[in-house]
Amino acid sequence: MISLEAIKNAVQSWLQLHIGGTLALVAESILLGILVITLFAVLGLLLVFMERKVSAVMQIRLGPNRVGPKGWLQTSADTLKLMLKEGLTPDGADRFLFNLAPFMIMIAAMLIMAPIAFAKNFQIWDINIGVLYISSVASISVIAILMAGWSSNNKYSLLGAMRSGAQIISYELSAGVAVITMIILTGSLSVNDIIASQENGWWIFKGHIPAIIAFIIFMIAVTAETNRAPFDLAEAESELTAGFHTEYSGMKFALFFLAEYINIFIVCAVAAILFLGGWMPLHIGNWQAFNHVMDYIPSSIWFFGKTFLLIGLIMWFRWTFPRLRIDQLLNLEWKYLLPISLLNMLLMTIVAILKWYL
């Protein structure tokens, strides 16, 4: 059976054999960079297409269906158009920061890719503080958004950036506490350990009520963190036209757009790792036969399947709910989500101490 792990090992040994030593490491790094960028492009195209189709289903219409078979090439055509467009920089803008911001948000998104396990033994960097690394790097994106909003010299952008800053920083707390809640169970920050601990059942099933609460809080918080409706106050096109990226055009706009979808992918991947076992197949206790059948499905399919399921959930939110107001948004976080998640963490500690989860 061809798995991502096998391909990785084959490439690695081929490089070691033919180039060897340090050069092989350099070659691998370059290869990795290309792979990540390709993944970005493919994910961007795929997710935008998925969003448009999901919204079309929700809104009783067909969605893109002209370019390519069933509209599959629509997003590629859009990207081509965006690439050919002029990337304007407004007159009063701070040119350096204005042009830096889209790359910054992209780089932040790219960095998070490192500790994510896409399949069994298929990971860029198995760092022992993987989850901590993800939460800390993810918060860089808020700097990029503030930068974009401030340097555009546009009042709508500034308002959008300020909203975004308040929003992301607040919701990171709940997301972080939800992550910690799960760390209590696993006792390790390494992504691989977290996945390994779910071999006999995913945490959302094993972790009882606290895990479910943590999952719900995490999903709400990351929806807010990625500026998705119903928390899309930073963009809020009926209020602030397009918020922080009002002034961007062409490929610079596309980078923001792409980063939004990459971020969705990443947060859903993290949720899948923490709560749904990452690439771990669905195992039920002692049902050996069932577990064996599940093992035949490649681990990469498990991982992407779970992630896309969660992405679908977030898209469903977007096309159903109205947007919150800024004060209601902050109330929700500080008055409800944060206290609940703190209590939930205590509850989880009790569960962990009494070892109820086994």
Binding site: S55, M58, Q59, I60, R61, K155, Y156, L159, R163, A229, P230, D232, L233, A236, E237, S238, E239, L240, T241, W319, T320, F321, P322, R323, L324, R325, I326, D327, Q328
Partner: protein, 371 residues
């Protein structure tokens, strides 16, 4: 007037909403003074789509000027035409055949439903929900098809003429309207499920954009905006025209005065419109669809005022005649203009999100404000 200034002399932030802005639904320009995100003052600038219809009408004959009025409040084109036709008929003292009166009222109510449909979708979009827009347009499309078959146009109908309506009904009109009504009754429940009951939506709407009954009267608000502040001002009830006196319907009144009350008034109004159509559609009498009038209409010297209830409120047509074939002076009292003047009162002290929700429930149609 339109100079770009960053801040007021007091140091408050100034932001220009419009003339190109998704929430203004047209070319309306609001200069907003902000303190943080709290609105301190709103100053509307109008006129981006001012065509001076009143001046144009002065050189058009009494048959011609009605067609221009379709372009005022384009969402209630039928009702605008109706108001003008009624005003001319008042001057000519023509008795309109009963069949024409029935057709007119049914068309008015269908227009009202279509207009409220569009409002519902657009308002949901203002508060950030995209999907309702498509649901609303699905039903609106059915009405537009009925309109198209009957009068040949989907938006600017020009169906009402002095003395009656321009052409008789389409043979399948009654059946199609009945089919639509049967379907539509279920759809209103769907709307309530999708939007009205949503907790986020209720939080966004309740207590937002409050307008007291005294202010609503003083600002000359009309239609659902005033009725949500418990001001009974439905022209159909108070000064019935055509067959509105014969049908049973309720004047929807709410006491909240906030955005949610305005929303709820309109949803209930759609149900009342359905009720009116149901009473009339089976009883359209046989007979002429147009009274005999002269080819060239001449109104006697004098002044004529006719008001009707459009989807947005009270539309008044004031004709000053010198006895010629064209009006000497014509004035349209548009509901949107007065409703807009209360916007500052309503949105002051709220957030930008509140302003958008308030404007959504005011149901502004900019050509109606600018004329």
């Amino acid at each position: 007037m339109h100079e770009v200034v960053g801040t007021t002399p007091e140091g408050d932030f100034i932001i220009n909403v419009g003339p190109q802005h998704p929430a203004t639904h047209g070319v309306l320009h609001l200069v907003i003074t902000l303190e943080g995100e709290t609105i301190k003052n709103i100053e509307p600038h109008l006129g981006y789509i001012h065509r001076s219809i009143e001046k144009m009408c002065e050189s058009l004959t009494y048959r011609q000027f009605i067609y221009v009025t379709s372009r005022m409040d384009y969402l209630s084109a039928h009702i605008n035409n109706h108001a003008c036709a009624l005003c001319v008929e008042k001057g000519l003292q023509v008795e309109v055949p009963l069949r024409a009166q029935y057709i007119r009222v049914i068309m008015d109510e269908l227009t009202r439903i279509a207009s409220h449909e569009l409002w519902w979708g657009a308002m949901a979009m203002d508060v950030g929900a995209f999907t309702p827009f498509f649901y609303a347009f699905r039903e609106r499309e059915t009405i537009n098809e009925i309109m198209e078959e009957t009068c040949g146009a989907r938006l600017t109908m020009n169906y009402m003429v002095p003395g009656g309506v321009m052409a008789d009904l389409h043979p399948q009109f009654q059946q199609k309207v009945k089919n639509f009504i049967a379907l539509y009754k279920k759809k209103i429940d769907e709307y309530n499920e999708l939007v009205t009951g949503n907790i986020i939506f209720q939080n966004r709407m309740k207590g937002v954009g409050y307008l007291s009954a005294e202010d609503a009267i003083s600002y000359g608000c009309s239609g659902p905006v005033a009725r949500a502040s418990s001001v009974a001002c439905d022209v159909r009830k108070r000064y019935p025209y055509d067959v509105y006196g014969l049908v049973q319907f309720e004047e929807v009144l709410e006491t909240g005065g906030d955005a949610f009350a305005r929303y709820w008034v309109r949803i209930q109004e759609m149900q009342q419109s359905v009720r009116i159509i149901e009473q009339l559609i089976d009883n359209i009498p046989e007979g002429e669809f147009q009274a005999k009038t002269k080819a060239v209409l001449k109104l006697p010297k004098g002044e004529f005022y006719q008001r009707v209830e459009t989807a947005r409120g009270e539309l008044g047509v004031y004709i000053v005649s010198e006895g010629g074939t064209t009006p000497y002076r014509i004035k349209f009292r548009s509901p949107g203009f007065s409703n807009l003047s209360a916007l500052n009162q309503m949105a002051k002290g709220g957030k930008i999100g509140d302003l958008v929700a308030t404007m959504g429930t005011l149901d502004l149609v900019i050509p109606d404000i600018d004329r």
